[in-house]
């Protein structure tokens, strides 16, 4: 933590690192500050008498709490129980990572387990094993991702533009929320229109209080809802103003209007509310998940969500979060696997944690990637935000993994952003909402953050939102407004979202839509991973899209670049002779001064050569130039030169500038001095190299040339070095003898 150090400069530096802004605590099991495996977690047990559970996890029916009753009645499949409970937990755990045991078999067995049994199974797994299991147990084959879109000003044009960009980037779902609850109708409307301007089929929701949420959905302003929170102890559930039965009813209420839902839970919420009853976070979360399943939800958003910093303060907390994602899949639930709320000050720690879900893949890798800057995130700050989008894209490309999005081009982004903002402008005009000006549309098109937007009259917007919510108008008036103002395509897509409601295909587990509104769910796209060569992997067009970074360049074009003209002419005048006099041979690579005319550090070959020769001359020694054609390797170029040199000393220079001082009687890969980091060499360095070589030739004591060290050189320039070397190597003529060169200097580049 940020405490005083005792004088160690190392510790002082470490104390300032982002990781040490995070809070870490030791376990305190009695109050529930323990991630997994608390001594007071119950041991699995199950007694069934006449088709009724009489004892579960060491508790007699008479001692059941409310949640036990719900789980016993709705979440445990009694037909499967005998076999499931009799199977040793370690054996079940091994089945999870055994590629020969298919997912369906495990789901069926787990359906007969009690909460404590499920926890005991997962406790046997390391993080790596959990990742293997998650890859197999995720219910939808194709992974996807969800975006969060909000802004500080609750500006509808910016909301629409950001939603359009998020859907263009490939997010399957977009969620918004509000600062002021009364703004919800306008924000929900803006992201719905915006999302469909980006591409068809993106699902949208607005996180507000349950009753308001249902109202928005009924009006057609949202297409799914994931705010149905559940908790793992009775008092926490009651504090959440619900029971498992009221949530189950709510789930059916949504489905009766054709609206997809997903429940929410996550480790840490109970202890945060003061009601953990001394149980581990994972045990309580498992109870939540069994309530979710029992209530008939198709899926869950979990992975600690807004409480994430709490389990992460504890030993094994990140493992527990992975375990809860895994348990959701074991129960056959769609999982939107957290990674949404800000979890650490450390980018290293955030990325490391992300990999646990990113690599195996989940139905929605985050339950809200902040597609806006952190300052605009009304969910309390995103773990990954708009500024991390390219990092995410690159990591997908690095690992050949589909994290649910793909790189986009700036032109395309600007086009959909403007269209979305204009579409919302038209709808506002048609419905009599406060005007969205041209200036606002323009600002929304090019904005990065809410601060780029003009201020709006929030009172007027809120009044319009309230009128819409209370009035008779619905999404149908919005669709007509879009259509009337020339946004027929967006109107069609928003209408299609409404049509899907009467079909109900997207009520099935883990349902999303592709661009053409083809539904993809665990029913028609079930995860079939069973080891190498099976399951989902990005291929074909999808893999092309993932790897197509706008900043990636074509290396062939880099190689083909015409050389920059230089004020130097090197003319070959026949085979190089064996020297006898006091001299230093300067041996040049095959492309030096011709195919390539500048070093990797941007120095002109004419300047480099002039300095080297001047350095040699300073020591009163003559220089002789030869071109080596038989090799492009720096050491061998130098050694070839040394063999020809009357003094036995030569300087070898590759075209990219890498240089060696060599001596005839050394092994080729040995040397007097080597300068492997060409970008670090200045013209002065080359002069000193010339001088030193001459001193070695004369047998004088010589201090090696000092060159500054830059440890980022290799990172920055390795691609360029490779391409320059390829170009030089192309000029190699195997077995060719070195050529004597005559140098002519010119006033101007030729």
């Amino acid at each position: 933590m940020n405490g005083q150090t005792k004088g160690s400069k190392r510790f002082a530096r470490l104390a300032q690192r982002p990781i040490n802004k995070d809070t870490f605590i030791q376990e305190w099991p009695e109050v529930g500050l323990i991630a997994m495996d608390s001594a007071s977690d119950p041991k699995p047990s199950l007694k069934i008498v006449d088709g009724v559970i009489e004892e579960m996890d060491g508790k007699a029916r008479a001692d059941f709490d409310m949640i036990d009753h719900f789980i016993a009645r709705h979440a445990v499949d009694l037909e499967r129980s005998a076999e499931a409970m009799a199977t040793p937990s370690k054996e079940l755990a091994r089945m999870l990572v055994d590629i020969h045991v298919p997912r369906q078999e495990i789901v069926q067995l787990i359906s007969g387990c009690t909460p404590a049994k499920v926890v005991e199974v997962v406790n046997h797994l390391t993080v790596l094993e959990m990742m293997m299991a998650l890859a197999k147990m995720r219910i939808r084959r194709t992974p996807a991702n969800q975006a969060h879109v909000t802004n500080r000003k609750e500006h509808p044009a910016l909301m629409a533009a950001d939603a359009a960009e998020a859907s263009l980037r490939g997010f399957a779902e977009i969620e918004t929320t509000v600062k002021v609850a009364r703004m919800a109708p306008l924000s929900a409307m803006a992201i719905l229109i915006g999302s469909q301007a980006g591409r068809g089929g993106v699902l949208t929701q607005c996180a507000v209080e349950e009753a308001l949420n249902l109202r928005l959905a009924i009006k057609g302003l949202t297409t799914y809802s994931e705010t149905l929170s559940v908790y793992g102890t009775d008092p926490a559930f009651i504090d959440g103003d619900d029971t498992p039965w009221s949530k189950a009813f709510l789930a059916s209420a949504y489905a009766s209007r054709g609206i997809k839902i997903r429940f929410t839970s996550g480790t840490g919420s109970e202890v945060l509310m003061g009601h953990a009853q001394g149980k581990s976070m994972l045990y309580l979360e498992t109870r939540c998940l069994m309530v979710v399943k029992g209530a008939g939800s198709q899926g869950v958003q979990n992975g600690s969500i807004s409480c994430v910093a709490l389990p992460e303060s504890l030993p094994g907390g990140v493992r527990a979060i992975l375990a809860e994602n895994l348990i959701a899949t074991l129960l056959g639930l769609e999982v939107a696997s957290g990674n949404d709320a800000l979890a650490s000050h450390s980018d290293i720690r955030k990325s490391a944690k992300l990999m646990l879900q990113f690599i195996p893949g989940t139905d929605l890798v985050t339950s809200g990637y902040s597609a806006v800057p952190r300052e605009d995130n009304l969910f309390g700050g995103g773990n990954f935000d708009a500024e991390d989008l390219d990092d995410w894209n690159v990591i997908q490309r690095d690992m050949s993994i589909d994290g649910g999005i793909h790189p986009v081009r700036e032109d395309d982004v600007l086009r959909v952003r403007e269209r979305a903002a204009r579409a919302v402008q038209a709808v506002f005009q048609e419905l009599g909402f406060p005007t969205i000006t041209e200036a606002e549309v323009g600002a929304a098109t090019y904005a990065h953050a809410g601060t780029d937007m003009p201020n709006r009259d929030q009172v007027a917007d809120l009044a319009a939102a309230e009128r819409f919510l209370q009035g008779q108008q619905t999404i149908l008036e919005v669709i007509q407004a879009l259509d009337a103002h020339g946004y027929g395509d967006i109107a069609e897509r928003v209408l299609e979202m409404q049509r899907q409601r009467i079909i109900g295909d997207y009520l099935q587990p883990s349902a999303i839509f592709d661009d053409d509104f083809r539904v993809l769910s665990a029913i028609n796209d079930p995860n079939d991973y069973q080891g190498p060569g099976t399951g989902y992997r990005p291929a074909g067009k999808r893999w092309q899209a993932i790897q197509d970074l706008p900043q990636a360049v074509n290396p062939r074009e880099m190689v083909g670049e015409a050389p920059t003209p230089i004020a130097l002419r090197l003319q070959s005048i026949g085979p190089a002779a064996q020297g006898v006099d006091m001299e230093v041979v300067v041996a040049l690579g095959p492309a030096f001064g011709e195919e390539i005319t500048t070093t990797i550090g941007g120095l002109s070959h004419s300047d480099v050569l002039r300095e080297v020769m001047a350095g040699i001359a300073e020591e009163g020694v003559s220089a002789r130039l030869v071109r080596v054609l038989a090799t492009s390797d720096c050491a061998f170029i130098g050694h070839e030169g040394a063999k020809l040199s009357g003094s036995g000393v030569a300087i070898g220079i590759q075209s990219k500038g890498t240089t060696v001082i060599h001596q005839r009687d050394l092994e080729p890969l040995n040397n007097l001095e080597l300068f492997p980091q060409a970008p670090a060499l200045s013209l002065d360095s080359y002069r000193q190299i010339g001088r030193n070589a001459a001193r070695y030739a004369k047998g004088k004591a010589t201090t090696p040339v000092s060159v500054p060290v830059d440890n980022t050189v290799r990172l920055r320039l390795i691609v360029k070095a490779t391409l320059m070397h390829l170009r030089e190597t192309k000029r190699v003529v195997l077995g060719a003898l070195p050529l004597e060169l005559q140098v002519t200097w010119h006033e101007e580049p030729l």
Partner: protein, 138 residues
């Protein structure tokens, strides 16, 4: 007629025969008809038959509890929005007496033929009574 093996997604297999709760075929839910003023919000409500078909698909896929949820949903399609919201609120903790909950269950069963949902409410009433989540009786 329902085939032995339901093919999913319904939109691709029996899309033509899907109707809204107002008995309007899916094919009529078009932008053209909206322009002509022929469509109302109720035309975009799901039919109980579609929910029952989806429940069958869920059950066949091994999602037993989701299937039950969709069957309850099928029972709720005719309940007006405000009534549905008030039923949800009545089910929240400490909102209703035991008798109010059981009579709500009776209403669901008798008025809306919502047998499964009524069962869920009766079960809730019993549990709420057991755990002191009912208001004191009148």
């Amino acid at each position: 007629m329902i085939k032995k093996r339901l093919r999913y997604p319904l939109s691709e297999t029996i899309g033509d025969s899907i109707r809204s709760r107002t008995e309007r075929p899916l094919a009529e839910l078009t932008l053209d008809n909206l322009r002509l003023g022929l469509l109302a919000p109720e035309d975009f409500l799901i039919h109980s038959e579609a929910l029952k078909l989806q429940a069958q698909i869920a059950r066949a896929g091994g999602y037993r509890q989701l299937a039950s949820n969709l069957l309850r949903a099928a029972e709720l399609v005719d309940i007006p929005n405000e009534k549905l919201l008030s039923m949800y609120n009545a089910l929240r903790p400490n909102r209703s007496t035991y008798e109010q909950l059981t009579s709500l269950a009776d209403e669901l069963q008798n008025v809306y033929n919502a047998e499964e949902t009524a069962k869920l409410l009766r079960e809730a009433a019993e549990i709420y009574k057991m755990f002191g989540l009912c208001l004191a009786g009148s």
